[in-house]
Symmetry: C2
Subunit: 192 residues, 2 copies
């Protein structure tokens, strides 16, 4: 998506260690006009899939998931990050490994809001190592529901999350894929 | 706001200990169509205030703050809950006391996204004891910016947060104020 690529080039900050900061418009400060354009693009891409629910994970996925769900005319459900290991039997849970903190964490959603008839579009702001996305897919499968695909704002193409998920046969549509990044802040986007 | 009151009456769950659950449409599952109507109401209420930024706190505030900011044509900034006490000098911080966990926690925003010229509308999904809202006001004041008011989805009128904040001279507009709640699930809304 040209608009998002241009915005990344204009406003990004690249930090040592392959860290791409886009917190001026995506995951700390949020530009709702850009979210709307991205939501429309996700609708265009997945309109034929009979989506009944948008699933994301707290916190920064919510900002893009809500306008996307509005385009589809369905509800959003956001997975919560568990603070304790003792979760109620009323929830579906999945494990998410954090490479940053080298810990295994649990995420969950209430069983009330996901069922076997749901056709779920997963939305998130970032895709890097894919662990969060795999965890969200596990939640959908735990409910017996169907993943129709994943809509991602920014994918780091030089990490292996996108490959991992696509190899499972899941359709992943990333609005911008950064294939290369150097410490001078030069980015190369994958042609799509 | 009649629409929100009716939705609360229809879909709420009341648990022992004064817990009002509205997670089927507001803070776990989110109904974007309802968010849009609430956003329009916040715009109607605060349109004359020259709002330059909407401020909320992760995670469930984001779902209502993004459509609200879209109505105003401004950006959203969401405060993050600090995981460590060691925060960078690039952030404004505030303390938020949690009555649930009996702990003092820090919240923060980047200094890049809030400045003395900002006229800030604070948006949140719930107002109970007011500690989160007071913390968000502290962040705005730390930046030398102006709080034009607070827009709240659901206020628990039988707790003292709304009183505390209004006594500081801040305009608080809550779209539904629950003044009484019993364990049979009967609610009484404040006339507005």
């Amino acid at each position: 998506m040209k608009l998002l690529e241009e915005r990344i080039l204009r406003d990004k900050v690249v930090l040592p260690g392959g860290i791409l900061k886009v917190d001026s418009f995506l995951n700390h400060q949020i530009d709702p006009a850009l979210m709307r354009e991205m939501a429309r693009e996700f609708y265009r891409l997945f309109a034929a899939e009979g989506v009944t629910k948008v699933l994301t994970i707290e916190a920064s996925g919510i900002g893009i998931a809500v306008p996307t769900a509005e385009e589809f005319g369905v509800n959003v459900l956001f997975a919560k990050k568990a603070k304790t290991a003792n979760l109620s039997p009323e929830v579906y849970t999945a494990d998410v490994y954090s490479y940053t903190h080298k810990t295994q964490n649990k995420i969950f959603v209430s069983k009330n809001y996901l069922n076997e008839n749901d056709r779920v579009l997963i939305i998130d702001d970032f895709l890097a190592n894919g662990q969060a996305l795999l965890g969200l897919m596990d939640l959908v499968h735990a409910a017996g529901a169907t993943v129709v695909g994943a809509g991602i704002a920014v994918e780091k193409g030089f990490q292996d999350g996108g490959k991992l998920v696509r190899e499972k046969g899941v359709r992943v549509e990333s609005l911008a894929i950064v294939d290369k990044m150097d410490e001078d802040g030069n980015l190369k986007f994958r042609a799509q």
